[in-house]
Amino acid sequence: MSGFYSAKSEQEVSDFIFENFNKSSPLEIVGYNSKKIGRIIQSSQTLSLGSMSGILEYFPEELYIKVLPGTSIEEIESELRKKNQFLGFEPNDLGYIYSGKSNPGSIGGVVSCNLSGPGRYKNGALRDHVLGFKAVNGSGAKIKSGGTVVKNVTGYDLSKVISGSYGTLCAVTEINLKVSPIPEHEETFLINNIDYIQALEIFQIALDSSLEISGACFFPHDNVSFLTLNDVKKDTSALGLRIQGPKTSVIERIQSLKKIFKDKSVIILDVYQTSIFWREVKNLEGYANTDDSICKISLPITNMRNFIKYFENVKYKYFLDWGGNVAWCSLSNQQDLDQMRIFCLKHDGHLTVLRADDNFRKSEEFLTYSNSSLRILSKKLKESFDPKGILNPNKMYSGI
């Protein structure tokens, strides 16, 4: 019998999973069910956590917020803004690549993907901001790990493991997140008309300084047109460096950058423009209206140059973020994607598919293991949470 069950409480989640555990019946766990991320799951049951919504605790001076999994990102961010705080991992709003418009989804869904915005290389990934959680594992047992404090070595750190596990280990019922103060001021140092080799060199120089750059992205000339700001030219490449902090310090650091890059064509984006520019970067808004597959290429900075060079004759779009540690790509050809994946595995990195069509979702892998030992251990880890393999089976990897 197929069914859609919207749980209202941790107990209901536990009861529902326990019932399915007894029947060995696979189930799909969803938040708002707004994004078809990961592989297609063969299950007749759906467990929705979207109705388990609300902020349970928020202590600004303790720098944490405790929320239910179905709480919307908008609600959390709006509450934090009242106290001049934000989620330091800058959650990507994948609504743009899934439905062409903003739809940031629920915190449970966001945590399950472990995706992070432009500040990743400086402020850490989403997983670095999850302090603790409660959940129900695959046999229906209520479990918890971590707490609300940043320093904690009390048992295994399961907060890290559930982040980015695509709901394959447990159904999260409560999440404690670290929050950060919103910087007093921010501006963006924008350099135009450079190629990717120059861009990677500029990243190295800027990030090798003590100027505390909190965002470093690059759009090649053929992937810049979606940026909406009038001050950003639409026919030439753009490299952005974000500077945040007390206003006097930001102004000083912008002046330092002007001296370092005095031979470059530069525009300074003010605080208002900076907010829009980095929102467009964070949400991959340039890929809002395409049917292509969207991928995240994660490589050591020094291998990124070789990646771009290697695929320069391939039809695809990309832009760099995280100071050259990540390329967000859009492409339609499956063979090209396979080649990119192989390249990443050979060069100390990996490729993750963020969005793909249903054919891809049925038969292809969204993530890849670099070796079989990791696959074996991952399968055992999955079984340690979900012995009968009923939670989002095959969503993350085929056979896991």
Partner: protein, 495 residues
């Protein structure tokens, strides 16, 4: 003081000669006479001692893999050890174990400035990583107070922090990759020089797992550019409450200092006597706030912090005007443990983490317990990240006093959990706090962790007797509540 560990396997002890003979074929660096292995019978928790059957000191990952595979196949327990500075007894041997000393893995393999990381073997000291990159103005951020001696592999095992964790995170936030060997000899590479290792976050799981899941044979850690300016300010208060409120206000105003430390009066006096740091002696609490960033940013923030301190009735303040002065401010705090060593023959250092706003409450409770147990205590507190280190002073020549000190420590940690904190911020559970895990976790929570242990090490051979409670002692010691005769952990292996 006897320490309850899993019952030794008499077969293993009887086969000692054969085991040493077999292992010698894998690595000739094996020692087993009483005199040779004495240095390995304890770690930083030196009240407990136990000799292993032998100590083996491999030099390559392949040797580690073969040793573990041999022990896995022959059901021999293995206890890994880095520099042996851990404070919770995580590398204390068992009578029937092979102690796997990683001391020969002591080389920095690569300093990679382009990818802003260092690749190192696990027994490189924490400080040596910074020393290897400081000529280019880089450093490794986590800085546990034992950084001169503690190993980076041990830091991974205990997820070590330091005074800068609020802004720069602990080991887990600064580790990019690792090579680990599982108990069955499987060698795994996790992560690397890229960000976000793919699949389940095994790197996050290994960090802080106290050597129970695998043996680290290589790490890749990220390095940071040194800030342009670092300044510190000393602020004195007439009450602990005022110092706690000041910390809360600093954070509420959106300032994230690089470090914030509070010492109570006994520790102010002890450290000032010892280190001549120039601390004010007429205050009840002393707060050290360190700020880093660009020069103008730091100067602006120092002014803001001093304003906030004034609003919280600070009775003393002094901002550093030179790096020498800043280092002098820290000199006392960094000598806290040594200074307490002068006050009493022995002390134990506890390690709870608490919500910052509970500081006054918890310190008040500790003072009550101090009177109850008739033992002196001094407190330092990583106020930025809520990590409390009460130093309980006693004389180990008096067994009754040692027992009192342990009970005093346990009561403090229980109270930390009661107010919403955790048992350990950075020292780990080890053998020291394993029975207290019942205070924080119920049977489902513990069982889930044991299931994970089983996925990595199905025969429970790697560092057994650590982290998780041993039932007999838990029940016998009365520290675990047995309800209606029901075992709290029915699936826990009984030793």
């Amino acid at each position: 003081m006897p320490l309850r560990l899993p019952e030794p396997d008499t077969n293993v002890i009887e086969n000692k000669k054969q085991i040493i003979y077999d292992l010698n074929k894998i690595s000739s660096n094996i020692i087993h006479t009483d005199d040779e292995i004495r240095p390995y019978e304890t770690d930083g928790l030196s009240v407990y001692r136990q000799k292993p059957i032998a100590v083996i000191l491999p030099e390559t990952t392949e040797e580690v893999s073969q040793i573990l595979r041999y022990c896995h196949e022959n059901k021999i327990k293995v206890v890994p050890r880095g520099a042996g500075t851990g404070l919770s007894g995580g590398s204390i041997p068992l009578a029937d174990c092979i102690l796997l000393g990683m001391g020969k893995f002591n080389k920095i393999l690569e300093t990679d400035f382009d990818n802003r990381c260092v690749v190192a073997q696990p027994c490189v000291t924490n400080l040596a990583i910074t020393e290897s990159v400081q000529h280019k103005n880089y450093y490794y951020a986590p800085d546990p107070s034992s950084q001169l001696a503690c190993s980076i592999g041990g830091n991974v095992a205990e997820n070590s922090g330091g005074v800068h964790s609020l802004k720069y995170g602990t080991t887990t936030n600064n580790l990019m990759g690792a090579e680990i060997v599982l108990m069955d000899g499987t060698v795994l590479k996790i992560g690397g020089k890229h960000l976000d290792s793919e699949g389940y976050d095994l790197l996050g799981l290994i960090t802080g797992s106290e050597g129970l899941l695998g043996v680290v044979t290589e790490v890749t850690v990220r390095i940071l550019k040194k800030p342009e300016s670092v300044r510190a300010v000393l602020i004195g208060f007439d009450t602990i409450e005022d110092s706690g409120n000041c910390v809360a206000d600093i954070i509420a105003k959106g300032i994230v200092p690089a470090g914030m430390e509070i010492m109570d009066k006994p520790l102010i006096i002890a450290t000032d006597n010892y280190a001549k740091a120039g601390y004010p002696r007429d205050v009840e609490a002393l707060l050290i706030v360190e700020l880093d960033g660009t020069s103008s940013e730091v100067d602006t923030l120092i002014d803001k912090v001093l304003d906030i301190a004034k609003m919280n009735k600070a009775s003393y303040n002094r901002a550093s005007n030179s790096d020498a002065e800043r280092l002098r401010f820290w000199k006392g705090r960094k000598a806290a443990f040594t200074a307490c060593g002068v006050l009493a023959p022995d002390y134990i250092c506890m390690d709870g983490s608490i919500p910052r706003n509970k500081l006054a409450d918890v310190l008040g409770h500790i003072n009550k317990l101090s009177k109850k147990y008739k033992l002196n205590v001094a407190n330092c507190f990583h106020a930025g990240d809520g990590n409390l280190h009460p130093l309980i002073m006693f004389d180990s020549n008096n067994p009754a006093e040692m027992k009192k000190a342990e009970d005093f420590g346990a009561d403090i940690l229980k109270y930390c959990v009661k107010v919403g904190g955790v048992l350990s911020g950075e020292h780990g559970i080890g053998v020291e706090k394993r029975e207290l895990m019942c205070e924080m976790f119920n049977d489902n929570d513990i069982q889930q962790q044991l299931n994970i242990k089983n996925a990595f090490d199905k025969n429970n051979l790697l560092n057994p007797g650590k982290v998780f409670p041993i039932l007999h002692r838990c029940a016998e010691g009365g520290r675990m509540h047995i309800h209606k005769g029901k075992d709290k952990f029915p699936n826990l292996p009984r030793f």
